[in-house]
């Protein structure tokens, strides 16, 4: 069974650069984008990751990844934040410490 995970972003100018950054950070993965105007749903199977370094390439060298919180209205799965990355993954990965039997 495919488990879709990923962020839901609110309206704003950052959406296109963020999509480009997600494509860079998740090469070869099918990422679906559902655009409903005021929000855009971004989904891929099991895992999407996004780094500050890549976001800076697309949004400018001063971009801080904590600002991502200002555009993410919701997300599917669970989100794990570090000081330089955000990862969306299956909830179940957490309870098994990421080890899939």
């Amino acid at each position: 069974m495919t488990n879709l995970v990923g962020p839901v972003l609110r309206m704003g100018e950052e959406i296109e650069p963020v999509l480009a950054a997600i494509a860079d950070d998740n090469p070869g993965r099918a990422v679906a984008v559902i655009d409903r105007g005021a929000y855009v749903r971004i989904e891929a199977a099991d895992r999407i990751t996004l780094t500050e370094a890549t976001l800076r390439r697309h949004l400018g060298p001063d971009y801080e990844i904590r600002s991502f919180g200002a555009i993410m209205s919701s997300f599917r799965g669970k989100v794990v934040t570090t000081s330089d990355s955000i990862t969306w993954e299956n909830v179940a990965d957490h309870t098994s410490d990421g080890v899939t039997p």
Partner: protein, 604 residues
């Protein structure tokens, strides 16, 4: 200077805790508030949030959010944007401000309770951010509504609603008291952050933003979707709490999630359902309410709950069936009882709108089309009075919303059936089976009486609709009315219409007390034929079944149910009662349920 990475130091600060030397931990965290129950206190040390934020990050990001939202507000304030908005859409925002603004304040208190009594340092830390978030939401909603108060006093209900005895205010206080004010923090974390905020508020704050933007309300869309970015973070208090509770007390975890899921679903059906499927102008609707529910609740949220180890709630089939009925009946009810609300509900049943509804909801025409047709024909006959309420809808003892959910029998007949139970010497009626079950399991916590209960108890003076409107704080300048009857009724003008209510409805009142309270009134929960709602009727012990039938009929026949000009009768427990029997002789008790229908439709 090179700063340490967050991961290098946050472990030391996010889990700061006291070592208690003068008191024991249970004194600091009394069970009544901390709610640990069967979970050993030590188990809470494993509590860990996924979405980590430090205080400097929090402050910097919140400042950016605020700047962005207020910049849009300032630019919109200089435009004619508000004047150009559709009146129906404005109603969706008025409903939002009234129902949400001070609800956010209740959430401040709820977050503060978790910040004080949460059983792990990181949890209390997150709750501090959460209460700052909710403070922002309460401020932003009241401030945004304030801009329009001088142009339209209905916006003032952003501040006013919760401080009145409006039936919706009572329903919301009842909902949020259970979810936030009276819960221990473990149950609270499951009900508010996990169920309400990870799940349902997405509908009203993100999904509805799609309609808002399409309808041209950039300001509102921007504001609500910004609010939900806070929810996306602090709602994460739910996940780790659920995980620990599930390990030690899965039955409790399942029950708390199930009951708050149901309460949230009922509330959203009343709030978001009409906004999406009726108040948003047809050309701007992005999806139907059902489609948004499927996207956000069924595909996104319920799957998350299942991944976390919960089962689907026991009422799942009833919930799914309700996606096609609940909000349509609630919309019809809000429209009929429009003098009791603080917005201007648009009926939104023109031919094009009905075609859209029928496409999205295959049973819509069958369940609601004829009721609206009778209303439309009354409007086109110049008898708007016949579309106004003459009594109160019966309100569910659990969710406080009207008992208006039609279900289908095995034979295929759709009726709003009675769901009742007797408790503490009183007959209670419910809108659904799940509401009844939740009431029974939670009965010792049920303290809030519905508006109908208060009316019956004699708290409303004078005991008539005018008294009810006064009790609810509604003044003529605020009372809701349809802003444009022609917009939807004109499509049907000139068609032949039969079976309508006679003009000047009160004059047809056949009731022996002439609408005045009887000396010894008997209040009943009644439904006429296939009307969409149960209503309160008042008769006396000496009223005959003929008189009772007429009293029930006058609230619905020719108003929403086309009059057949045929004999009617009273049915109790599936049995027709003789016409000359009195209420006392029939053994009808206060709050009993009666059906009135055409004799020809009664099984011999």
């Amino acid at each position: 200077m090179t700063l340490l990475k967050r991961e290098d130091w946050e472990g030391f600060v996010r889990d700061v805790d006291w070592t208690y030397r003068y008191v024991d931990e249970r004194t600091v965290f009394p069970p009544i508030h901390s709610g640990s129950g069967k979970v050993p206190l030590d188990a809470w040390r494993a509590w860990e949030e996924d979405y980590k934020v430090t205080y400097p990050e929090y402050v910097a990001t919140q400042s950016e959010k605020e700047s962005a939202v207020y910049a849009v507000k300032a630019s919109m304030q200089r435009s004619s944007n508000w004047e150009d908005l559709d009146e129906g859409w404005k109603s969706a925002t008025k409903m939002h401000y009234g129902a949400v603004a001070l609800g956010e304040y209740a959430a401040v208190l709820a977050e503060l309770k978790m910040a004080r009594f949460g059983l792990a340092g990181p949890w209390r830390n997150m709750a501090v951010f959460g209460q700052l978030d909710e403070l922002r939401h309460a401020s932003i909603a009241t401030y945004f509504a304030h801009e329009f108060v001088d142009r339209d006093p209905q916006y003032d209900w952003a501040q006013k609603l919760y401080n009145t005895n409006n039936w919706i205010a009572i329903a919301l206080r009842n909902l949020f008291d259970d979810m936030m004010s009276t819960s221990n923090v473990v149950d609270l974390a499951l009900q508010l952050p996990l169920v309400f905020e990870t799940g349902f508020t997405n509908l009203q704050f993100v999904a509805l933003a799609a309609d808002a933007l399409a309808a041209g309300d950039v300001n509102f869309a921007n504001m609500i979707s910004s609010i939900q970015t806070d929810e996306a973070r602090h709602s994460q208090q739910g996940g780790p709490t659920l995980e620990i509770l599930l390990e030690h007390d899965p039955v409790r975890a399942q029950w708390v999630v199930d009951k708050s899921f149901w309460a949230s679903a009922r509330g959203l059906a009343a709030l978001t359902g009409p906004s999406m499927d009726y108040y948003t102008p047809l050309e701007h609707r992005q999806q139907s309410y059902r489609e948004f529910m499927e996207e956000w609740i069924i595909d996104q949220f319920v799957r998350t709950l299942e991944e976390r180890g919960l089962k689907k709630p026991w009422y799942w089939d009833e919930f799914m069936r309700g996606l096609d009925t609940w909000h349509h009946a609630l919309h019809l009810g809000l429209w009929v009882w429009r003098p009791t609300i603080w917005w201007k509900p648009v009926a939104a049943v023109s031919k094009d709108e009905r075609a859209w509804l029928a496409e999205k909801y295959p049973t819509w025409e069958r369940l609601y089309g004829e009721k609206w047709d009778v209303i439309i024909d009354n409007v086109n006959a110049g008898n708007v009075a016949a579309t106004l309420p003459t009594t109160l809808p019966w309100l569910c003892s659990t969710c406080h919303l009207p008992t208006c959910n039609a279900t289908q029998s095995r034979e295929g007949a759709w009726r709003v059936r009675d769901v009742q139970l007797e408790y503490d010497g009183r007959i209670h009626h419910f809108c659904t089976r799940a509401c009844r079950q939740i009431f029974w399991k939670d009965r010792v916590n049920v303290n809030q009486h519905t508006l109908v209960d208060r009316y019956i108890a004699g708290h409303i003076d004078p005991p008539d609709l005018e008294g009810v409107l006064g009790y609810m704080g509604l003044t003529p300048d605020v009372m809701g009315d349809d802003p444009d009857y022609t917009a939807w009724a004109a499509d049907y003008a000139g068609r032949p219409a039969e079976g309508l209510a006679r003009e000047a409805a009160p004059s047809v009142d056949p009731h022996p007390t002439g609408g005045r309270p009887a000396d010894d009134p008997v209040h009943l929960d009644a439904v006429f034929a296939d009307d969409f709602v149960h209503v309160l009727v008042t008769v006396s012990p000496t009223s005959t079944m003929t008189e009772l039938a007429a009293e029930v009929a006058r609230h619905a026949e020719g108003r929403r149910v086309r009059a057949r000009g045929q004999a009617i009768c009273v049915i109790v427990g599936g049995r027709r009662l003789p016409d000359d029997l009195t209420v006392a002789q029939a053994g009808l008790r206060p709050r009993d349920h009666v059906v009135v229908d055409y004799v020809t439709r009664v099984q011999p």
